[in-house]
Each structure stands twice: as C-alpha cells, then as structure tokens.
Amino acid sequence: MQHFEPNDWKKYIITFLVTGALFLSAFWVSNYFTGRKIDQVKIAEDKISLDLMSSEIQFSLLQEMSCKDVSTNALSSELNSLAEKISYSESNIGTENSNVVSLKKYYSILEIKDYLLMKRITERCGQKSVFVLYFYDNDTCADCTKQGYVLTSLKEKYPALRVYSFDYNLDLSAIKAMISIYNVPDKMPALVINGKVYSGFQSIETVEKNFPQLKTLKKKEIPESKETTKKSA
C-alpha cells in the first residue's frame, strides 16, 4: 500500500529558526562574557596606570628621602596577572581581535613605563635588580614557547627578576623605539638583559652563566602563587 507522506516544510523552517535563535543566543551570551572580560582587563590596566603614575609621583616627591618608602613589588605581580589574562584572551578571543590588540598595546605601554620607573628607582636607590626585555613572535617563533617557560622558571627562582614581554610584531611605536634603541634583531626569541642583547633561545643555564648578577638576587624562599611570563605560542 504505497503512501508517501507529504513533507512538513513548515516544521523544517520552524526548526531552522529555533536552532538559529539558539545559536544567536549562544553567540550573544558568549559576547556578553567576552565584553565583561575585556572590561575587567581594561579596569585592571587603568588601575595599573594610576598606580604607575602614583609611583612616579611618589618617586619624584621622595627623591630626597629614603628609598625604603618606594614600593616596587605590588605592580610587578599585577602586571603578571594581567599578562596571563591577555594571553588567555589572545587564545580564546583571537589575536586579531581589535579589543585584544588594543588591550595588549596598553599593557605594553604600562610595561615600558614600569620598566623605566623601576630602572630609575634601582639606579637611584642602588638596589640589585636584573631587567629582562623579552621579544617574541606569536606566529613563526617555535622557540618562543620554550623561552617563555625558561623566563617563568627564572622568575619563580628569582622573584626580584623583572621580565617585560613584548610582541615584536605589535604595531606600537613605543615597542619599535625599544627595538631600535637596543638593536633587537628580528630573529625571535630575543632577550635584552640589563641592556645586553641575546638572540635565539637561551636556556636557564645559559642565562645564569651569562648573567652572574642573577645569583646575587634574593632567591625565592617560600612557595607562592606561580606567575606566568607572558608570551606565548
């Protein structure tokens, strides 16, 4: 008994519309949370910016006074926490996303400001410190992931080590100026340690050997939360 049922086209279309609506809702919810996260990073950056300005002013005001009163550690950990968030945003929202790029530029500027201020403070106060400017490339640098691990590990070992990470290809004049000032080659990863340039992957042993000052830094005494060095593959 042949009997072909007529197709219920209306149901196919309604299903399509309902599924589409579910998908749009999922995108909307995702965008909402992404927006919240970007706002959170912006707020953190603004806070760091304010803190940096405050430190700069504090430094200027206290020029004639004791170096003990200048705090230097809080900002470093906040910058590191921000680095983790920007790195996560890059992998989850996208390296090309304009909001992420903008946050990253802001972050890089904050890093440079922190670097300049800390350099002045350590020079003026005669503090022992080692500054590492780390240039990486998100696209073609196979060794950058390894270099990131090395620097994270070194920071763990020597909390006073100050590592500043920069995306070599980020379109930011301040980074370009640093590259130009330190003659950073385009072979990534590249490190500038207390003004001296190293190109290509540097192992922990190499860095420690080439930089005996590191050993004069106070080593980590008690375990604390791990901070990740920004870079990444």
Binding site: M1, Q2, K11, I14, V18, L22, A26, K85, Y149
Partner: protein, 423 residues
C-alpha cells in the same frame, strides 16, 4: 586551518542541534497522539500472526525467549511461532526440540547461512496475515503483540510497527549506559514514526503485514543488518512504518566493551553500507522524512562523533606536547597552585553550543525514559551514557568506517559465536 576547523565545528553543531530541536518540536506537536494502551485492551478482530525466532548459539536465552512468546496475551490459535536454528554449534537445537510438541510452535534446522536466511525460512512457511521476528536474546512483554495489533487496527495504512526495546536487567555500568540509550531511542523512534522516517525495524519483535514481503521480496543479507535494509526498502516504496511505544521488548545488552564494540561495528557498518546502497533516496523530497532527515542526520551524527573525538585527541595531544616541551626545557616544577578566577572560565560560543546540545540530549533521554518506563525523572545514570559513549563510540564509528571502506563485513554469526565463547 583554524578557520576551517571553526566552520566545520559550527556547521556540525548547528546540524546536531537542529536534529534535536526537530525531535522536540515534533514531540510538542504530537505528544497528545502518543497512545498508551489500557491493560484490558481488546481488538475488534485478532488477525493471525507468525513470529520467527532465528537462533544461532542461543542455548542460554532461547528458553526464556520462547516462554515469553507463549505467554503473550493473544489468542493461541492466531499465533504461530517458528524457531529456526541457523546451524548452531551449541545445544540450541536440543533446547528448541523441547518445544517441538507445542501446538503453536514449528521448529526448523538448517545449515548456517546468516540471520536473514533464518528469517526467510519463516517467511516461506508463514501463512498468516502478519509476520514478525524476535531475536533469541530478547523477551516480549505479555501485552506487546496486542498493543502492536491494536495500532495496526487503528492505522490501516501502517505496514510495519517497531516496538520499544528496553535493556533487560542491566547489571553493570555499561549495560546501564545502554539502557539510557535504548530509552532515548524509544522517544526518537516514536517521533520518527510520527514523521514517517523510521529507518530500522529492529530484530526484536517488529511486526509486518505479510504483504510487505509478498510485494517487496524476502529479507536480504544487507551487510548483516537486514532489519535496516527492509525498513529502507519499505520507505522507498512508500510503505508506512510506525512505532508502538508501549509494546515493550526486553533485550540483553552486551555486558562487555568488546561485545558492545562488535555489535556497534556491525550496526554502523550496516548503516553506512545501506546508506550507500540507498543513496538514491537521500534528499529526494518524494521519500519524505527518511530522505530529508533520518539518513542525513545519521550521517551527521557519525561525522559529529568523529569530529568531537578528533578534537579531544588533538587537545590531549597538544597539552601533552606542551607539557613535554616544558619539562624538557625547565624540568619538572613543584606542584602548581590553583586559584579560581572566573576570567579563565571558558565562555566561547562553542561551549554554549555544546551546552545547548547536551541539554537537548538530556531532554530526549528524560522524555524517552518517561515513554519507556513511565519515569520522567532526571537520573545521574544519564551521564553514564554521555560519558561512556563519548569515549568509546568514536572507536566503533572509526572501525566501522574503515571496514566500510574496505568492505570488511562484521558478522552476526561471529558476534553470537564470540558471545557464546565468552559465556
């Protein structure tokens, strides 16, 4: 590469959600038409029915199977049972012979030739108006036949009716997971029945008007999935297949991963090969739901499961490789500390699509449980199904695809032989 992956992910997710929404909309439209028969059900007339039980090495279950058929609440003079021994190598034939004297039962013994040949013996000898089959590892509910025949009575255009298959007495997590799957299938099968899109008339107790075989010919080997092939053949010829949700048949589910793996390779292999054999139906609007929905969605679910599996393997591999590089570079570091920050909770759209899909699957399971067992509740055992199948299903899917490409058939006889050896 990333963008290609994203496109494939979104397309597969959309189609998978589409399939579940389609079922749900059908349910909302037709829920009042789902009939549950009363216990004191009576029919206007009781047509004659022949049920064939193909057996290959079923010595452990045949007795219970036959007794469940004899206990059917159906006039005895209208019910004939054929027990066909397909060349068993155990004591099945001796067990069958014990029923030889029963007036309703006829027994047959033949050389091993595969399940379809055993079923065709039944078709050759049947003189009834309706014919059916019952796998020898399954047992029928006493009211099952009456309920099916009532559905035929109510819908004279229906040419075959599939029952609701329930896993019998699950004893381990694997069988419980299968029970959830079978319960969900009660729901999806009924919805496909409403839409005219059923693609399998399962071995356990599907009943046909004999005219189906008179018109379309006997069972075919059909890559050892003759129950899929006959359903597709019927769909091609516009023969309506329905589902009777309260015609319960209890089946013994494979109790080990290996047995389940073998069974599913046979099913999926059969589905793929039958899909290829009946590719002329796909997207031809004349054939309705089977062409526009059932077959494409089966194909999508295979692709989706493999894609998901590939993604998981890739992520595990990528994590392992990162860890390896890290250990190689800086050695093994102390135990990392964990601090919760909602910022690092994944809020990508992909996650929400997956959540929507899983919610819809859980809704299907809950509705299926309600239809199969009258229980609407959510049970944590649902996660057995989701977790176990997510892990092991891709293996049989990939193997079935591999076999399909190489045309390496997985045999029902072999499956039965292995099951017997394992007992």
């Amino acid at each position: 590469m990333d963008s290609l992956y994203t496109i494939v992910f979104y397309v597969l997710s959309f189609l998978s959600v589409y399939v579940q929404v389609f079922f749900l909309i059908t349910f909302l439209q037709k829920r009042k038409q789902i009939v549950y028969h009363a216990d004191n059900l009576e029919l206007a007339s009781y047509p004659s029915v022949t049920v064939t039980v193909p057996c290959f090495n079923e010595e452990n279950t045949i007795d219970k199977t036959v007794k469940s058929l004899l206990a059917l609440d159906y006039p005895k003079d209208k019910l004939t049972i054929f027990l066909v021994d397909d060349g068993s190598t155990d004591t099945t034939w001796q067990k069958i012979k014990e029923f030889e004297s029963h007036p309703n039962i006829k027994i047959f013994h033949k050389e091993n030739g595969g399940k379809h040949t055993a079923l065709n013996i039944g078709l050759v000898h049947a003189v009834s108006e309706f014919v059916g089959c019952l796998d020898a590892d399954s047992f029928v509910h006493p009211q099952a036949l009456k309920r099916i025949m009532k559905t035929f009575e109510s819908y004279p255009k229906t040419m075959a009716i599939a029952p609701s298959i329930i896993v019998y007495n699950p004893k381990n997590i694997l069988q419980t997971a299968q029970k959830i799957e079978y319960d969900m299938a009660v729901y999806t099968k009924k919805m496909l029945g409403f839409m005219g899109g059923i693609h399998v008339t399962p071995g356990p107790f599907s009943i046909f008007r004999k005219k189906v075989f008179d018109d379309l010919g006997p069972y075919r080997k059909a890559h050892n999935t003759e129950d899929q092939e006959i359903a597709l053949r019927m769909q091609e010829h516009g023969y309506k297949i329905d589902h009777c949700p309260d015609a319960y048949v209890y089946t013994v589910a494979p109790n080990s991963v290996l047995k389940l793996y073998r069974q599913r390779i046979r099913w999926i292999y059969g589905f793929i090969k039958n899909l290829i054999d009946y590719r002329r139906l796909i997207f031809k609007k004349k054939y309705g739901t089977i062409a526009l929905f059932t077959l494409p969605s089966g194909f999508i679910s295979i692709l989706g499961a493999i894609f998901l599996f590939g993604t998981v393997i890739y992520n595990i591999g990528s994590y392992a490789s990162r860890k390896f590089v890290q250990i190689q570079t800086v050695g093994i570091e102390g135990t990392p500390s964990f601090h919760f920050d909602w910022f690092f909770v994944n809020t990508q759209a992909a996650l929400f699509f997956s959540v929507i899909l899983y919610i819809l699957v859980i809704v299907s399971v809950v509705l299926g449980r309600r239809m199969a067992e009258g229980r609407a509740g959510f049970s944590l055992t649902i996660f057995y199904f989701i977790i176990i199948y997510s892990i092991i299903a891709p293996f049989w899917l990939l193997r079935a695809i591999y076999n399909a490409i190489r045309s390496h058939e997985s045999s029902w006889t072999f499956e039965r032989q292995s099951a017997t050896e394992a007992k």
